[in-house]
């Protein structure tokens, strides 16, 4: 076996099935025992533009994409023009013969050129022009000796819902392209991707799916949302699974309604979630404060994309941290989790509800497009399904309430700030919840002292919640000259950067902040206490996490690497920028 690792890039227009074939291909590799990292890049339009899907495969676990590619599958001229340069020496380019390729340059760079009549092959097998993507996959499989039957199994799965005819044609197209390519170029390409025998079966999952799955297992029973990239698939995944698993999913008229609906549902006692992106979150701002004031345990998934306003609808950024932290008038506790891996997404999915119900406050899972829509292979037991547990905090049972003596005080003063909560519906616990300031019984008040005490009660919850915040995750040698600091989706690229630096004999480690608010200041300070030179890597222009770290730990961040062009960090990008700092 010649290959230990390689990256494919499938590039074409929207509507050419780049995303679906990329996702299928990724799954096929996983089935053949390879580790996969797959990421997409597409335009906010339905047709045209230039999209690509990048799949990295290796024998060992992967955490990030890389900038260089080994095999380019170019479905359009633009794909050729944009990406040929990215192919490494020894790599190759697959495309239709009719596209213009600068063979001389490729040659000079030792990149092989594989012109293949993809459309013709598709048509010969009775397929439509769009099946050229299937042909391309077949060709790539042929070139790398990837087992055809594994590819076939994925094609079957993917096209099943379109009918047997669709399955059959696609299979024929893939097979024909496979053989055509193997016959013609079989020997001309140095990479080999056979089935890895005895590899365990692994899951291929993206961040949105992991959050949704975690939420589902964590007892989420109501989802209200309005589609918005990159959060839409949380809503859609829930819609697809709702009937089977007992989740009511409502596509609302807008995000204001989504927030209000989850407040209504959570108030009645149901675990409720609303997925959105920054624009939708803007509309939820007022409702967030209502949840804060009424101490209603709602969960919002905010998958960031580049703003302001519509910004870059289908790209990635980490620009909303301080916004979600301070959103809405006044001051009230909220909890913010910023998972960085599929595993952390899954955990965030169910933990959010436990935290929300325990601290009776809104919880925000802050993700981003890169995390939300990139897939990675994980071991079947990487997500500890049976470890999921439900903790509803101080929720009074019917029995508790039956036994209640005296008046029920929904907002009783307590040291922890947490007041035992009754769900509406019990005769002994008829109470008011209001967005106005209120006394312990929930009745509106405008007086000084109850106001002060309720403020202090609510804010006290943050102190308690802090004890449940997971500290930052270190990676790499314990002591190092350079410590890379990141949060959220930078985990993977940073981890691989540390590996690369270590390989190069440089001394580097990293710290990944995953639970953001209440800010685990002591843990972060402690973790950074040995750091010699800190470099904060984050996907925004103003250094939002850096400012939090500095403000809360007193640690000074020495250097900043910030990206705000809508694209995710890659280890190579970070390496290059590290040279500058």
């Amino acid at each position: 076996m010649a290959t230990r690792e390689m990256t494919f890039k499938i590039g074409g227009e929207a509507g050419q099935g780049v995303e679906s074939s990329g996702a299928g291909f990724a799954k096929a590799f996983a089935r053949a025992g390879w580790h996969v990292f797959g990421t997409q890049d597409y335009y906010s339009r339905i047709r045209g533009g230039h999209n690509f899907y990048q799949i990295r495969v290796a024998e060992t676990p992967l955490y990030s994409h890389v900038d260089s590619i080994d095999l380019l599958l170019a479905l359009t001229q633009e794909a050729v023009d944009r990406h040929c340069d990215e192919v490494v020496p020894g790599g190759g380019v697959i495309c239709e013969e009719c596209l213009e390729v600068d063979c001389a340059t490729l040659d000079k760079r030792d990149v092989s050129y594989f012109p293949i009549p993809l459309t013709d092959i598709a048509k010969e097998q009775g397929g439509a022009e769009v099946m050229r993507n299937t042909a391309a996959l077949g060709a790539a499989a042929g070139l790398t000796g990837f087992p055809l039957e594994v590819m076939a199994s994925v094609i079957e799965d993917n096209f099943r819902k379109k009918g047997t005819e669709a399955v059959q044609v696609n299979l024929r197209v893939a097979e024909a392209a496979y053989h055509w390519t193997q016959d013609k170029f079989g020997e001309g390409f140095d990479y080999e991707l056979p089935r890895i025998e005895d590899a365990p079966r692994r899951m291929v999952m993206d961040g949105n799916q992991a959050i949704a799955l975690g939420a589902l297992l964590g007892g989420c029973k109501f989802v209200a949302g309005y589609p918005m990239t990159p959060a839409t698939s949380v809503l859609q995944w829930m819609a697809t699974h709702g009937d089977r698993y007992g989740v009511v999913v409502k596509h609302t008229e807008d995000e204001i309604a989504a927030m209000m609906m989850i407040i209504g549902a959570a108030h009645m006692g149901v675990r409720a979630l609303a997925p959105t992106s920054g624009g939708g979150f803007s509309l939820m701002t007022e409702g967030l404060g209502l949840a804060g004031m009424t101490e209603t345990p709602v969960v919002v998934v905010e998958a960031q994309r580049p703003g302001p306003a519509t910004g870059l609808a289908t790209r990635t950024e980490q620009g909303d941290l301080l916004f979600v932290l301070h959103a809405s008038q006044g001051e009230f506790p909220r909890i913010i989790l910023s998972p960085g891996t599929i595993e952390e997404c899954f955990d965030a999915g169910w933990r959010a509800f436990n935290l929300a119900e325990t601290y009776q406050c809104p919880v925000i899972i802050l993700s981003d497009n890169f995390l939300a829509n990139s897939v990675r292979t994980i071991e079947k037991d990487a997500l500890d399904f049976s470890g999921v547990h439900i903790d509803r905090g101080q929720l009074l049972t019917e029995k508790d309430l039956d036994a209640l003596e005296g008046e029920y005080l929904r907002y009783a003063y307590t040291k922890s700030g947490i007041s035992p909560r009754a769900l509406p519906g019990h005769p002994k616990a008829v109470y008011q919840a209001t967005g106005n300031e209120h006394s312990p019984d929930g009745q509106l008040t405008e007086e000084r002292e109850p106001r002060r005490l309720q403020m202090e009660k609510r804010l006290a919850k943050l102190e308690c919640a802090l004890t449940e915040m997971r500290g930052p995750v270190p990676y790499g040698p314990k002591k190092a000259e350079t410590t890379l600091v990141g949060w959220g989706s930078t985990y993977g690229p940073l981890r691989e950067t540390v590996d690369l630096l270590t390989e190069q004999g440089e001394s580097a480690n990293m710290l990944h902040i995953r639970d953001v608010w209440p800010f685990p200041a002591d843990a972060v300070r402690e973790a950074l206490s040995d750091a010699q030179r800190t470099v904060m890597v984050e996907g925004n222009a103003t250094g939002q996490m850096a400012s939090l770290v500095e403000a809360h730990t007193g640690v000074n961040i020495d250097h900043h690497i910030r990206r705000y062009d809508g694209r995710p960090f890659s280890p190579q990008y970070i390496m290059a920028r590290l040279e500058e700092v």
């Binding site: 009511v248 309604a257 209000m260 609906m261 549902a265 009424t294 019990h426 008829v430």
Partner: protein, 290 residues
């Protein structure tokens, strides 16, 4: 038997003497108790405004939300627990202004929610600005030269939006208002009750003296058929010397939204226990990703 008294709260209303909200408040308490609904079986959701304080003055589960946002909160509450009787109470600025979009969508969804709008044709709580139902020419703090927005017609809008019950009452005719609210509660589906609410502080021109001689009851009109959409459309526009009250429109047998959500056929969501996840479930879920 539930009694009117069961809804009595120790908290005294802060409404002005003579405010129509007192009558609406009493009508709600009468309607609920006469329908034998106990306070803990009801959720009263309100927005922000003078009238939106109604739950605060009532011994009932209350959810006093944000300006204009009671309907989506009520929708979530209802989907989470359709065993509870969900009633919205809010003003005209709240319901027909800021919240008009939500009302249109709630109506077409036909959730089984009763929506009582205290329509005083002015903003009470913020002290006298014109509202979406203020007549043209209405002089107020934000329309010192008279309003030039043509008023909304809540009945016509509700009808166009697909509301399955549309009614109106006037707190000075308390018994009639109680009956309209009762029918609205009993109706399966979204039910709007527009209430001609006198505001004695900021809209004296359209208070008791104005409405008293003008209101009449549709149920007393011979030949009026509340299931007839065309008739309803016509009467929805009647506003002047005669102002209709009662049930403008009612269509029965339309399924509610809740009726059509498969998951809810198992009973109220909040009563459904958390799923006991089995190894089979895990396997099924995992296998999607393999």
């Amino acid at each position: 038997m539930v009694e009117f008294q069961d809804y009595r709260s120790p908290v005294r209303p802060t409404w002005c003497k003579g405010c129509g909200d007192y009558g609406i408040w009493n009508a709600l308490k009468f309607a609920l108790s006469e329908l034998d609904l106990a306070p803990h079986e009801v959720l009263m959701v309100s927005g922000i405004g003078c009238g939106s304080k109604t739950p605060d003055y009532t011994h009932v589960n209350g959810l006093h939300t944000l300006h204009g946002r009671s309907l989506p909160a009520a929708t979530g509450a209802r989907l989470a627990n359709h065993g509870a009787e969900v009633i919205c109470v809010h003003g005209d600025g709240d319901g027909y202004g800021m919240g008009l979009g939500h009302m249109m969508h709630a109506a077409r969804r036909n959730l089984d929610i009763t929506d009582v709008v205290q329509n005083n044709r002015v903003y009470g709580l913020t002290k006298g600005q014109y509202s979406p139902t203020s007549p043209e020419g209405f002089v107020s703090k934000t329309s010192p030269q008279g309003a030039i927005d043509r008023p909304v017609n809540p009945w016509a809008l509700a009808l166009a939006a697909g509301a399955t019950f549309i009614g109106r009452g006037f707190p000075a005719d308390l018994r009639h208002l109680v009956e309209v609210i009762k029918k609205a509660i009993q109706h399966r589906g979204y039910a709007l009750v527009d209430v001609l609410q006198p505001c004695v502080s900021f809209n004296r021109a359209y208070a008791y003296d104005y409405y008293q001689p003008r209101v009449y009851k549709l149920e007393e009109e011979s030949g009026y058929d509340p299931s007839d959409r065309a008739m309803a459309w016509e009467r929805a526009h009647e506003w002047g010397d005669r102002i209709p009250m009662g049930i403008l429109y009612q269509v029965e047998g339309e399924p509610t939204y809740e009726d059509q959500v498969p998951v809810l056929q198992e009973g109220p969501l909040v009563k459904q226990t958390f799923r006991e996840w089995t190894e089979n479930d895990f396997e099924a879920l995992r296998s999607e990703f393999i």
